[in-house]
């Protein structure tokens, strides 16, 4: 019998009507009578509103000057933000020492950058320990009294740098804590399990505002009378515990996504419990949980503005102080709150872009 040769057909380009700008517009904006009407309404609303908004924000805004009297035009008074910018970013940290705050922020950026660029083996040896030590290094450095720098009381720390640093310091410490709690929660040991479940459920079931009040009012009662624990330190502990509870639940969902076969394979080559957990389970849990880890981080970062209720001078608190300053009375609230919102949005949006890129990176390197 004659054998027929099998020749695969070549690929052909997709028809033009299904790709390109015109096709996109037609499919997404003008696909039906209803969609056409909605599109027209939205476009005309934007045309009506946007020019006024941009005019207020940019074109008629007051950019130059240094006092309230310079705000003569109708638009936004950005001079307000300019005049208070040092407070907004650094709180009352002394002028000459601000390099210490900048250096802490720089260290944080460098460590994050390192954890992206280093090859895996070095990353585990350098970036991970660096991350864990970073909060304590920054603490020593910003405080200064133990390393021969000019001591700066934590009452003076503040502004946006405080929001960033305390959020970062919390999540870094909450990471191992949360992982241990998640392990404890699914442990066979009744003691470890009940302690973990209690901690997780308590901190997850309590509003962060209530926890901050408890931290500032109640926690000192548990310490001996002659020991006074710094307010910022207490807040940090509260944030770490709160965050750990959320991280524990994030990790738990990651644990559940790991197929049973992975545990069995690890068992069958004789790995012990900690080897199995750290070498097989942990890396895969991190990969699966990455979107939720970053979502939790964004949540904590935004929650740092709640610190204003116990009078920690974080960014929003500084703005509110500035608004009640006698030189700036008379309605700069919109500018102030917009600015806070904008800065937070920029940070959270870049984190979510970062998250997307991490997910892509993890996805291609070891797909299964």
């Amino acid at each position: 019998m004659q054998v027929r040769e099998f020749k695969p057909l070549p690929d052909q380009p997709a028809p033009l009507s299904s790709t390109g700008v015109i096709a996109w517009l037609k499919n997404n904006l003008f696909s039906s009578v209803f969609n056409i009407i909605v599109t027209i309404i939205i476009v005309s609303a934007l045309v009506a509103v946007l020019p006024g908004v941009f005019d207020w924000l940019i074109f008629s805004a007051n950019w130059s000057g240094s006092t309230q009297a310079d705000c003569v035009k109708d638009g936004a008074c950005w001079i307000f933000i300019k005049a208070w910018s040092q407070q907004i970013f650094y709180g009352s940290y002394p002028d000459g020492e601000i390099w210490r705050v900048n250096l802490s922020l720089l260290l944080l950026t460098v460590v994050i950058a390192l954890s992206f660029t280093l090859p895996t083996r070095l990353r585990n040896k350098i970036a991970v320990p660096a991350f864990l030590f970073l909060p304590f290094i920054c603490l020593l450095f910003l405080d200064g009294s133990n390393i021969g720098l000019k001591p700066v009381s934590t009452d003076l720390w503040g502004g946006f740098s405080l929001n960033v640093l305390i959020a970062a310091a919390s999540i870094i410490i909450a990471f191992p804590f949360g992982f241990l709690w998640a392990l404890g929660r699914q442990s066979d040991m009744p003691f470890a399990r009940s302690v973990s479940v209690t901690c997780i459920e308590f901190f997850r079931g309590t509003p962060i505002l209530a926890l901050f009040f408890m931290g500032s009012v109640m926690l000192p009662l548990f310490f001996p009378a002659d020991v006074s624990v710094d307010k910022l330190l207490r807040v940090w502990i509260i944030l770490v515990l709160f965050m750990s509870a959320y991280m524990a639940e994030v990790f738990r969902s990651g644990f559940q996504a790991i197929p049973q076969g992975q545990y069995e394979a690890a068992d069958s080559i004789g790995l012990g419990y900690w080897q199995k957990t750290l070498l097989i389970v942990f890396p895969q849990v991190i990969k699966i949980s990455m979107p939720n880890i970053l979502a939790t981080f964004v949540m904590v970062f935004k929650n740092t503005v709640f610190l204003l209720v116990i009078a920690v001078p974080e960014m929003l608190q500084v703005i509110m102080t500035a608004l009640s300053n006698s030189n700036w009375l008379g309605g700069h609230a919109v500018e102030g709150y917009l600015f806070v919102g904008f800065i937070f949005w920029i940070c959270c949006f870049s984190m979510s872009l970062l998250a997307t890129s991490i997910e892509k990176k993890l996805d291609t390197s070891h797909k299964n």
Partner: protein, 257 residues
């Protein structure tokens, strides 16, 4: 070995696995009923039977992936007792290959193979990598060492899984339906590796429905149904003169299609 070897006198040095009156329940469901099985060193056993017959459960009991409630199990002279050290000692003697390969997706092929030698046997990295490459060559895929499991075909992944077990130089290899999740075109490459392994004298217990493989290499074929061993015999007798009607029915079902 640091583990107390109980009953070592009663175990002849040729018997490498001894299962006595093993019973297992899932809740109230009696999955294994009075299993008695001894495997001699170098023996190749094939276990078959309908799904739900307890064959996978039985071999998973041998390296303690499953617990059993009654009876006793001795592997390579070590009696299985409820103790972590003891379980880890037995697992070091027993390699296992799974239906769904269970490679570690976040590690390269080479790292999958060296994990056990480095962390369990505490071998230096260079030595572990040399061993890994030796076994990768034996399963004929040394060129895939730097890739990740997700980049390999099913047949290649299963061969890596076999190599991963062999890296621990086990006394016994357990196979739990190693070809059931594979495309027809890939079954052969895995079976070839297993046949080669059998010819080298490895003790093997293999749950499979590849009857060709059973005829070719098995010393004994075991038929299980309803949680018990119904029949065991040499492949020749097993296929040509089944003693029970249940096995006759089973063989007629699987050989018909």
């Amino acid at each position: 070995m640091s583990v107390d070897k109980q009953n070592i006198e009663s175990t002849s040095d040729k018997e490498i696995i001894a299962i006595k009156d093993m019973n297992k329940w899932y809740g109230n469901f009696h999955v294994l009923k009075d299993i008695n099985l001894t495997v001699k060193k170098g023996e190749r056993i094939v276990v078959c039977g309908p799904s739900g017959s307890g064959k996978s459960t039985m071999i998973r009991c041998i390296n303690r992936l499953e617990e059993f409630q009654r009876g006793s199990l001795t592997v390579n002279g070590v009696e299985m007792i409820d103790d972590v050290k003891n379980i880890e000692a037995i697992r070091r003697e027993v390699g296992m290959v799974f239906q769904h390969f269970n490679l570690f997706p976040h590690l390269s092929i080479l790292d999958n193979l060296t994990l056990g030698p480095i962390w369990v046997q505490k071998k230096p990295k260079e030595e572990a990598e040399a061993i890994a490459m030796k076994y990768l060559e034996r399963v004929k895929i040394p060129d895939q060492a730097k890739k990740f499991p997700g980049q390999l075909s099913g047949g290649q992944q299963q061969r890596v899984a076999i190599a991963r077990s062999l890296c621990m130089s086990p006394e016994i290899m357990l196979f739990d339906e190693p070809t059931s999740a594979l495309d027809p075109e890939m079954i052969k490459e895995v079976l070839d590796v297993m046949v080669e392994l059998a010819h080298e004298g490895m003790t093997m217990v293999c749950v499979t429905h590849e009857m060709g493989f059973a005829k070719k290499v098995a010393d004994r074929v075991i038929f299980m149904d309803g949680g018990e061993i119904v029949e065991q015999n040499t492949p020749h007798e097993f296929f040509d003169n089944p003693e029970t009607d249940r096995l006759q029915l089973f063989l007629s079902q699987i050989l018909q299609h």
